[in-house]
């Protein structure tokens, strides 16, 4: 019983709905643009992290450079999705803005699609910055199709983390949401081998790595740079789709109760 996620998102909205979808996205964009205290750190954090731990600590090891670029491109998309969804929705839910939009005839899905579009925009920007850094400072050399594939993985990677963020935003209160997001974001990055190869971690952590969505994305990304053999793509995709669907369904239940 939830106006936002109850009705399935229609991929082709009726023409009269289009202005509402576009305005929703436009104002979401303006809202974020006018909140530099959110946009700036979110955009800066992954490149900064990459610079310190991916580039400066790694001297001249070409294999490691390619590995780290692939995994940091996954790390880069986690933040805008988790924070953009988890924290923003928690705030807008708690303050009653979401309730008002739910009462008004906002077309189903406009709210989530606008936020998703924002997260994807952020992900693209972060990916481009990381790619430029990898090329210029990291000595990463890839074929055009490889860049494109990693970019596509990063962009698609927005979806599972949006769903996870939505789940957090549906339940956590506004002041706790950032803490929850950090509690998931940073440990998951570490446990999925985004900062260093899983082979360097204790065996038990390697064993549980397939639990984390970031692990599966990272594997897809590593396949694109030729760091791991390209096999089992279907399994990774299936896991990511299932994870996204489950988070979304749980979030929908919680959102319905949280009004």
């Amino acid at each position: 019983m939830n106006a936002i996620v109850d009705t399935p998102i229609q991929p082709t909205a009726a023409p009269h709905m289009l202005p509402a979808y576009l305005l929703e996205a436009k104002y979401e964009f303006l809202r974020v643009l006018r909140t530099p205290s959110f946009a700036f750190p979110t955009l800066m954090f992954p490149p900064l992290f990459y610079l310190l731990f991916g580039l400066l600590l790694n001297h001249g090891n070409v294999g490691a450079a390619h590995y780290l670029f692939a995994t940091y491109s996954v790390f880069g998309v986690m933040a805008p999705s988790l924070f953009g969804f988890g924290v923003a929705i928690a705030i807008e839910r708690e303050k009653g803005w979401l309730a008002l939009k739910r009462v008004a005839p906002m077309p189903p899905g406009a709210y989530l699609l606008a936020k998703m579009a924002m997260a994807m925009l952020f992900a693209v920007i972060i990916f481009i910055v990381l790619a430029v850094m990898a090329m210029t400072l990291g000595g990463v050399r890839l074929a055009f199709m490889q860049w494109l594939t990693i970019g596509a993985v990063a962009l698609a990677g927005v979806l599972p983390f949006c769903a996870l963020g939505l789940m957090i935003g549906a339940r956590a209160n506004a002041s706790a949401a950032p803490a929850f997001v950090n509690l998931i974001y940073l440990p998951m990055a570490f446990l999925s081998g985004l900062w260093m190869p899983l082979s360097m971690l204790p065996h038990v952590l390697t064993q549980i790595a397939p639990l984390w969505p970031a692990y599966h994305l990272a594997q897809l990304s590593l396949m694109a740079v030729g760091q791991v053999p390209a096999s089992g793509i279907g399994g990774h995709l299936l896991w990511l789709v299932a994870f996204t669907a489950i988070c979304f369904l749980i979030a929908r239940r919680w959102l319905a109760r949280a009004a």
Partner: protein
């Protein structure tokens, strides 16, 4: 729906929050073009009743319907507008942008009828605020913007949860005028308020809630008439203990020179008062207002 004039309805609606029974089998009907004021002390269930009608919550038992449909349906929602009690609108958006956004919602339904921007700004009195960011506005201005968002569509029913809280007298009078204009167009209004003069000024019908139940319902006059009492005030030297012994007098109190007498009928008491004290001055008689009735009704219910 047998009665096509019914726009919103609660039937035996109950809602429980933990140990607290916020609504207890509440029945409420709102008809086309009427103003229903829902009054009650804090925690009586006014906001919960509204949340059920708006589809923000679902009743644990009973039904909530808008136009005979579930309130969550998009085609029901395009016919309603709402001003909620706690709404933090994004600070960084301009008033004009917010209005454009809400107009687009009403335009997104093929049967929806958004109002023109000029119409909205004139009705809500926000014409001078369009370029301003919401976060930079005063509390009263923000309330007016929320009202503007509520009337962004040509709706059949408006839900206003304490709409004039924080408004100055001018802004309040303007909002009352606009509400009357909309009602004249056939729009129904459900209003909660702590200002009884607001209910007196606007409402066709009043429902008094206490502990999740309706304890009184009727026209303003009918509610007022439930308390058959008159207040007589004057300056007089007569001992209040003596007055209290007179027939029909319920109580008599003194504040300095002034005496206040509460009675169910004024005339015999005034006659006796004038007979007993030829020097009575500043005599005034007041019938019970809605406020007196409200106090009486909620005290009985408690």
């Amino acid at each position: 729906m047998s009665d096509s004039n019914v726009v919103a309805m609660l039937q035996g609606a109950s809602r429980q929050f933990g140990q607290v029974r916020a609504l207890d089998a509440l029945d409420l009907t709102v008809r086309r073009g009427e103003v229903l004021a829902v009054l009650g002390p804090n925690g009586a269930g006014k906001t919960t009743a509204m949340a059920l009608l708006l589809g923000l919550q679902t009743p644990d038992a009973g039904n909530a319907t808008l136009f005979g449909q579930a309130p969550q349906r998009l085609d029901a929602r395009r016919r309603i507008g709402a001003m909620l009690q706690t709404t933090a609108v994004p600070d960084t958006l301009q008033v004009g942008e917010l209005i454009a956004l809400f107009r687009s919602y009403y335009a997104s339904d093929k049967n929806g009828q958004p109002r023109t921007v000029a119409d909205i700004t004139a009705l809500a009195g926000v014409g001078d605020l369009l370029q301003r960011r919401y976060g930079k506005l005063s509390g009263g201005q923000q309330r007016r913007v929320q009202f503007a968002l509520a009337i962004a569509g040509r709706v059949d029913i408006l839900f206003l949860d304490e709409p004039t809280t924080g408004l100055d007298i001018d802004a309040r009078t303007t909002m009352w005028k606009t509400i009357r204009t909309l009602v004249a167009e056939g729009c129904a209004v459900v209003l909660t308020t702590h200002y009884l003069e607001e209910a007196e000024a606007l409402a066709d019908r009043i429902a008094v809630l206490a502990q999740g139940r309706i304890v009184a319902e009727g026209s303003v006059d009918a509610i007022r008439a439930r308390v058959a009492q008159r207040r007589i005030r004057c300056v007089s030297g007569i001992d209040t203990a003596t007055i209290a012994q007179w027939p029909h007098v319920r109580s008599a109190t003194r504040d300095g020179q002034r005496v206040e007498i509460v009675t169910e009928v004024a005339e015999p008491v005034v006659r006796q008062l004038l007979a007993a004290d030829a020097d009575v001055s500043e005599l005034e008689i007041q019938r019970a207002g809605l406020a007196d009735a409200f106090v009486e009704i909620t005290r009985e219910a408690a």
